[in-house]
Symmetry: C2
Subunit: 542 residues, 2 copies
Amino acid sequence: MKPIVEIARQIGISEENLEQYGKFKAKLADELWDELKERPDGKLILVTAMNPNPAGAGKTLTTIGLSQALNLIGKKTVAALREPSLGPCMGIKGGATGSGKAQILPADEINLHFTGDLHAITSAHNLLAAMIDNHIHHGNTLRINPKKIVWKRAMDMNDRALRQIVVGLGDGNGITREDGFMITTASEIMAILCLSENREDLRERLNQIIIGYDTDDQPVRAQDIQAVDAMCVMLKDAIKPNLVQTIEGTPVLIHGGPFANIAHGCSSVVATKTALKLADYVVTEAGFGADLGAEKFFDIKCRQAGLTPSAAVVVISVRALKFNGGVKVADLETENLPAVRRGFENLKRHIENIRKFGVPAVVAVNHFITDTQAEVETVFELCQELGVEAALSRVWEKGGEGGVDLAEKVARAAEQPSQFRFLYDEQQSAKEKVETIVRELYRGSGVTFSPAALKTLQKVEAMGLSHLPVCMAKTPYSFTDRPEILGAPTDFTISVSEIRLSAGAGFLVVLTGSLMTMPGLPKKPAAEALRVEQDGRITGLS
Amino acid sequence: MKPIVEIARQIGISEENLEQYGKFKAKLADELWDELKERPDGKLILVTAMNPNPAGAGKTLTTIGLSQALNLIGKKTVAALREPSLGPCMGIKGGATGSGKAQILPADEINLHFTGDLHAITSAHNLLAAMIDNHIHHGNTLRINPKKIVWKRAMDMNDRALRQIVVGLGDGNGITREDGFMITTASEIMAILCLSENREDLRERLNQIIIGYDTDDQPVRAQDIQAVDAMCVMLKDAIKPNLVQTIEGTPVLIHGGPFANIAHGCSSVVATKTALKLADYVVTEAGFGADLGAEKFFDIKCRQAGLTPSAAVVVISVRALKFNGGVKVADLETENLPAVRRGFENLKRHIENIRKFGVPAVVAVNHFITDTQAEVETVFELCQELGVEAALSRVWEKGGEGGVDLAEKVARAAEQPSQFRFLYDEQQSAKEKVETIVRELYRGSGVTFSPAALKTLQKVEAMGLSHLPVCMAKTPYSFTDRPEILGAPTDFTISVSEIRLSAGAGFLVVLTGSLMTMPGLPKKPAAEALRVEQDGRITGLS
């Protein structure tokens, strides 16, 4: 690792604009933006993927490797990635910092407390929760209906016992009511932090958070609780992007990591916009597959922030294609060309979808050692038939060098003039927006809304908020709302069970099926393997 | 503020041994201790106080001012203080970083997230809690009795609704049981972090934490849950002391801040020992008044860490004496010599008590603008009668210069050869230890133990842990266990309601009366006044 001041210097950031956290992590000072804001923007590259599955595609790995490769071919590049959450690192082995020769450093610290952003969000979240119960305890002048409080508590931990709880038992301990904890990444504050342009925007969005409803069923907002300024105080540093480096010294802004189902699953707007001023190419990623991640990146993040993406990389692996073509995990290492062809249908639909946004797509075939020559050739043939550029990516094994072909194809694609457009118009009704997504991207035949969802939509309309984009909370494994249906299904309907209003983040969450916002730990948690070694290194994390 | 690298340089710490958190905060690297450990120790000065009361004595203020004053008179001095908790800053106005010309900077950041130590403790605490419920959920091979889990959850927030809760409701969400949250400073992990000599000691102490009892009523420890290594990972940086500065550039190690009732209320052993290697004088403070704070500092912290204090400063104010002499808060600004004399009885007993530990005492009279000349003179007369050195301290108004007389008297006292001794022998039974404290320090006539407390003492004996020192959890306002009894009462008994075993921290918590480990917010929380100003400064905190 190089000292972070040196990485910063590479992209023209002086030491005064750096707030160091140890020698290898730093936050960018508020003053930096004033220096940068008049500069032209670089090109924005989105890395997305086919539908995720247990075979693994390697989206984060490819994002890191591609940014290294772009630098290798002389394109000044910064990666803008999501910040991992501590809780899941304790559950199932594996952080979110890449691996092999395409990883971000210092991986252990990034996966743990990092610069404290998630802790700050947890604190701000729970301050609001405490102030709600405190308001009711001290007389409830806002007439909050204790049965209609929608603001839960948050913790950055996988803790199933906290999913559904009763609080306020015992004398003098406030009102007794049902409540629950979500994991911090699912907090609306995380989504807000990631969509805010600056401190003022952050404050205004926090003000708009709906914490519950009063006895007249009117929304009560965070601003009514007088918690927002204190929340801004707690988030004072969390809104500053974090600078780290890849194993090859490529600068990376890691900042924010909202859930990709009930939120939009992209790193922060502040980091993306800063990166665009610092580099010619900014490589960023979105959660899950392109049906969810890319759609939300385009329709929510780019729409709200006024961003124009220049190209999209769709990461696949031969293994993941075969899984999508019906092969079981145990059989993935056996050559199976028909399965590759069948699985390709899934990729094909994602490519078609991305073209609907007017964004040129490039396929990154993340190479695994078990891929056969014939399988790889089949993928390239199919890509050629589809008229989409494809490149083999060996960044795990070779770092940036393993991604040079990909980088060259991505750079070429990004040089085309942008024809970026949204999938739906914000003036469409929420129902129409959902129907457009289902028809155009998922290729379902229709949508059924539950009575509860329809009621919420009426409420949203009455509140004058139907211009908000929609945020689909659907299984990432399938174009349908049933995880077991792989490939490129047609003739299905999507069932919307519930609509939630994230008024601060600025979107309507459309729930299909049940949703878990607090994970549990497995029988053998990854935490059991973590160690601090004699020399202070952490092992067992990735 | 000077850059923290410069403050470090003043006391011989090179930039390589500094992990910066922004420009004005830093953690000391692990490697520093290896460089320092062979050096001789400086002199350790404890700052304590008479029984606290609403009139205010000014213990933290005096600690900071004294450390500035010692530097002014040419004694190389480092202060070692407790780390504030975020939760209480949201409740009742006021941080814990001094004020006026005797304060620590950057006050806002120290009072908020600082370097993340409290967040790390919260995470480690809640990981253990999650792993306990997870263990039971996945089959409970340890046969933990869900009704006898003593390890609660923790949050750094004032949130009364979380004091008493039911967790694990709903299908698939683990076992349903009663639980509760404590504020992070009350976590045994905070006490452990503050008493650990190093990483190995930390690990061993975490291993010993008793999380509950099994179906045979045998203790189940954190090591049985296999959570300890992951907890050490989470505490990897939290165990490193934090360096900041006073408003006059005196170096301050702020590190750890355990509760002063159910724990020992002192900053970390690691910080104290490091400071002793870096300076000729180390000024540190203990929680509450000398009956609790100084006793625990001597009998728990100094005993466990092998520290020898050279002098104790007892902070008083004329106002606080008058309050103890029966004056109401509204009347504190009226001259009242008889009340000063009556209140002095409280101070007198504390001085006598400190002498029992063989430590020379100096009285610091923290000057308020409303003190009259006659009142101040009366205090000095009474101190002279008692044969104790006293000095007027005007550090709020004048900084170090206002504490020069105090500093000179403290330095002189500390030059006497130490006759430090513990109040009780560790081989005494726990009952005898408590009785010794009550008889010798509080001057009560006896102790009554509840049947539950006696039962726990038997258990402790059977576990071979009766050598542990005792940690009194008593009201700080009185020598008795009733807060309204001021002055220097005699002829009372102390009632022990419960004994808790902090096997990791290494003490028995002796509870007298009821105990609150999770504060609530007041009707008008201090949080409502917090702001981030345009220029990024935080206002409303202190």
